[in-house]
Every structure is written in structure tokens, then in C-alpha cells.
Amino acid sequence: MRTYLARRLVIAGALLWVVASVVFFSIYLLPGDPAHTILGGMDANPTPEQLRAVRQKLGLDRPIAVRYLDWLGALARGDLGRSLITDRPVAADLATRLLRTLQLIVPAIAIATVAGIVAGVFAARRRGTILDPLASGATLLGFSIPVFVAGPILVYVFALWLRVLPSGGYTNLHEGPGRFLAHLVLPAVTLAAAPLATTMRMTRSALLEQLPQDYVRTARSKGLGEGGVLRRHVLRNAYLPVLTILGLQVGAMFAGSVIVEAIFNWPGMNTYLLQAIGVRDYPVIQAVVLVASAIFVSVNFLTDVGYAVLDPRIRYG
């Protein structure tokens, strides 16, 4: 297992380094002079002082190799630079925003995983009855209805029509847990819908794979109850594919949260990114993309670790 994990770790590290480099050099992709572009495009007439100030702030006045090493060094210290607009350190702002995004994503993952597995087990154990195709049909809808469709419809039904939940916004958890939860319900459900469908489908087909196998019959015949058979034997085997998908799901959640945060005005990492894109605050854009990428790479790595823990063939292989 150690070589396996070491290899994964090296790959993850290399991937992060590539991402950091791409993010660094992306500023040179800007058409024309980056400082000009940042100061409002070619039609604006920035004074030479303004241009110099921006160049200095972005480090464009120094040789590119020096800048590159500085940037990697700063990253290693957790310094993500300063916003061009507010001049605040990006790392601090981003930490607040990331925490709020996690407050949205973690409940969504919980909903998707628990409900998805329960629904998947339900459908698999009722194979051949009308309930199985019904459940599968519902998941197909879950796949095909994008978040930017589900979100506004949920807002219309629960906020504008029934008036039971707020249409968007955010309350700090410590300011009012009730209001925090009320704001959380719609975005979390919107975000959970598609991953729930995937988890349900995966669980169902993985179970159908395992249920007819000999070890299940053995477990049953030694007198283990049906719940014990499922938990102790079937689910452990069925989970390898589900775990991979779960890893992908977390990635999908972060991706979905871009649009969900925009719909529900959730002041997380993604709205931070979208605002920065709107005002061309490149240090912020670079930082958010970098941190988001680091999260994906870590999640992928953790999925591999989880694989090794759950599958002895990989652990000892």
C-alpha cells in the first residue's frame, strides 16, 4: 500500500505544481498589456503612474523567472497576494468564503449520500416490482434537470408561492441557527439532486452485482439477519465503485455550487470568484482557481486512499 500511496501522492503533487504554473502564466494570456486590460481595456486612458502601480502590484516589472519563483514561494507560505480592488489579503477573504461554501456542500453531500444509498438499496431489493423502475425513472430526471433549472423552480414553489423558505441569502450560523438552516435548505437540496441520483444508480447496480453471489448465500445460511448481510458483507463489496463515484461527486458538488451559489446569493467561494471575474480582479481569480484545484486534487487523492483502505487487493497488491 505504501508504494501505491506514495505514487498517488507524487502524482497529486505534480498536478498541483502544473496547476499553479498554469495559473501563474495565465496572466500573460491576457490580450495586450495586462496592466492596460486590468485598468479598463484599451479605450481607457490610464496615466503612466497608474500603469506602473498595477505592474508593480502584479510584479510585471520584474523578470518572469524571478516572479515565478516568488509566486511559488509565497504559495508555500500560504500567501495568495492582495486583491487589486480592495487591497485586502486574498487568503483571509478566501478562507471565510470557502468556509461558507463548505457549509453548503457538506450538508448536500450528506443528503446525496444517505438518501442515494437508501434509495439504491430500496430499488435493488425491490427489483421486479413497480417501485424499482419508478425509483430509477426519478433518478433519470435528477440527472437531466440541471441545477439552473431546479434552483429557480424550487425558489418559485417554496419562496414565492408557498412562502415557507427564503429565496436566497445567508445568515451566519452563530447569529441564528434557525435562519441559517432556512437559508440552507433550498440550495443544499438543489445541489444534492444530481449526485443523489448518481449515488442511487451506482448503489443499485453495485448491489444487483453482489446479491446473487455465493458469499451472500453463505452469510445468510450462517444465520445472519438481512440487515447484517447487507452492512457487513454486501455493502462493503458494493462500495468500491460507489466510493469512486463519491469522490467524483465531491468534485461535481463544487462545480454545481458555482451555479447554486449564484442562484441563491450564497456568499461562498464561487460568488467571490464570479465577483472577481466581473471586476477583473486577477489575483483573486487566480487564488480561487488554485484553491479549488487543490481541493479537487486532494479529494481525488483521498478517494485513492479510501480505495486502498477498503480493498485489501490494493492494500497488499
Binding site: 425558489v155 451506482m202 465503485p241 468534485g251 461535481a252 479537487f296
Partner: protein, 291 residues
């Protein structure tokens, strides 16, 4: 859907029989939906006589009527017309980007699978790396630096979906690389290009077709998502995603301007997903009845 790609052989799969399969309706119904969307996109000026961008304050958020079959939005623009012209954007973006991804991905995957060695190592590592990031984040990042335009959206989506095709082409090529017909092609002195083109490509085409159908749906979603965030084709282009975003601010007046484009996007994507599934089952009967 993903579960299918794992392709387990199982004892509860339906037995493979030679009798005529019953997938016709599963293939035809979604195909029909796709054809309707394409026809509407091509014949947009015939579908509605209104200019999709024509503002008419006299009929703001009108309900469906004889003059406006699906009603109007918050600016009094005809929704039928905007949907039809929006179909042009969706269809052209998804088709062009999938053609890019299919061509690029097939070239990358097929050559790395066929030649192997360090070429394979480098290319497939690159593919794995790109695949580990969610498309929308990469798309946002690239669009920020290239600027939002229809061409850039097409290029970005095409680039982002290339790895998916590459991985499929790679796997399929590995499976056929050692077959007799590829050996035979080499033995009679065919060049690498000819072997790839005449012996390998026709035999790896099936899974690529399936991915094409699924990829079209995903490209439509990504385009709509980008334009929902205001980073797709610039206004006033009547993209489906932007229609939903703009009208959703006026939902307290009427939900219909949101519901129509929502229904159209969802139906189109659902049809393409079903089409992909049906094609996969038709092309690979072992997988029938799974997931």
C-alpha cells in the same frame, strides 16, 4: 450512466439472444426529440415571425396567446422566437465543440493506445489531469482570460471534453491493438496511418458514438450554465441559459418565462442522454438491463 461504462459481466444480465431487440422505441423517441430541436433551430425564422430581441413594453410577461404561442418575457420579447433562436446557439455550440472534442480526443487516444511508450504515458497523464477538474471551473477560468464570445465558448468546451473522448478511444484501441485484423493490416505492409484509419478506427467507433450523444447533452448544459452565469455568448443572444437567468428575477410576476426554457433544456438533455444509453445498449447487448 457511469455505472454502465464499468461494464461488468454478470449472471443476472439478460441472456444474449439473436431475436430482434426491443430497443426501437427507446432509440426512436429521443432521436425524434433531437431532430425536432435541430429542425426548429434551422427553421427559427419560420417558427416565429418575431425578432427574438424585439422589445415590446405593451405585452410584458404576457401569458400564452394566439399572437404569442408561449407568451412573452419581462421585456415583451416573444418566448417562442427566443427559444427557437436559442436552439441555434445551443445546437451550434454543442455540435461544434463535440466535433472538436471527438476529433482531438480520437487522435490523442487512438495514437497513444496504438503507439504506446512514452507518447502514451505523457498524453494519458495529461488526460487524467484534465479529467480531475470540473469543466465549469476550467471554463470560467479560461473564459475570464479569453473573454466571453461564442467562438471562445466553443473552443473551451471542445478542449474540456477532449479528454473524455481520448480516454474512451485509448481504451478501445488497446482492446483491438492485438487483434488479427490489425496484425494482418500491418503484415500486408499498411502504413501506420492506414492501419489506424482502416483497421482501428472503424472498430473503436461504437463507444465514441455513444460518448458523442452524451457529450452533446453535457455541452448543452455547460453552455447554458456559462450563459446563466453571464459568461456565454454575449447579450442580446437569446441563449437558453441566459433566458432562465434573466427571467428568474421576474418570477414573482410570472414563472412561465422561466419554465419554458427550463423545460426545453431539460428535455433536450434528457433526450440526448436517453439516446446515448439506447445506443450503448444497441451496440453492446451485454449491458442491457443494467443500471
Amino acid at each position: 450512466m457511469r455505472s454502465l461504462t464499468l461494464g461488468y459481466a454478470t449472471d443476472n444480465a439478460a441472456p444474449i439472444t439473436v431475436r430482434r431487440r426491443r430497443w426501437d422505441a427507446r432509440l426512436l423517441v429521443p432521436a425524434l426529440v433531437v431532430v425536432v430541436v435541430v429542425v426548429v433551430a434551422l427553421a427559427a425564422p419560420l417558427v416565429s415571425r418575431y425578432d427574438p430581441d424585439e422589445i415590446n413594453p405593451a405585452v410584458r410577461v404576457a401569458l400564452p396567446s394566439r399572437t404569442h404561442p408561449l407568451g412573452t418575457d419581462e421585456y415583451g420579447r416573444d418566448i417562442t422566437s427566443r427559444l427557437a433562436y436559442g436552439a441555434r446557439i445551443s445546437m451550434s455550440v454543442s455540435l461544434a465543440s463535440v466535433v472538436i472534442a471527438l476529433t482531438g480526443g480520437t487522435l490523442v487516444g487512438m495514437s497513444s493506445g496504438y503507439f504506446g511508450g512514452s507518447l502514451e504515458l505523457v498524453l494519458m497523464r495529461l488526460v487524467d489531469g484534465l479529467l480531475s477538474f470540473p469543466p465549469i471551473l476550467l471554463a470560467l477560468f479560461v473564459i475570464t482570460f479569453l473573454g466571453p464570445s461564442l467562438v471562445n465558448v466553443i473552443l473551451v468546451i471542445g478542449l474540456l471534453y477532449t479528454p473524455r473522448f481520448a480516454r474512451i478511444a485509448h481504451g478501445a484501441t488497446l482492446a483491438v491493438r492485438e487483434t488479427e485484423y490489425v496484425m494482418a493490416a500491418k503484415a500486408i505492409g499498411a502504413t501506420h496511418t492506414r492501419t489506424l484509419w482502416r483497421a482501428v478506427l472503424p472498430n473503436i467507433a461504437a463507444p465514441l458514438f455513444v460518448q458523442t450523444s452524451l457529450g452533446l447533452g453535457q455541452a448543452i448544459l455547460l453552455e447554458a450554465g456559462l450563459s446563466f452565469l453571464g459568461l456565454g455568448a454575449p447579450p442580446p443572444a437569446p441563449s437558453w441559459g441566459r433566458m432562465i437567468e434573466q427571467s428568474s428575477r421576474f418570477m414573482s410576476l410570472s414563472p412561465w418565462p422561466v419554465l419554458w426554457p427550463s423545460a426545453v433544456v431539460s428535455t433536450t438533455v434528457l433526450a440526448l442522454n436517453l439516446l446515448g444509453d439506447a445506443m450503448r445498449d444497441a451496440l453492446d447487448p451485454r449491458l442491457r438491463g443494467r443500471a
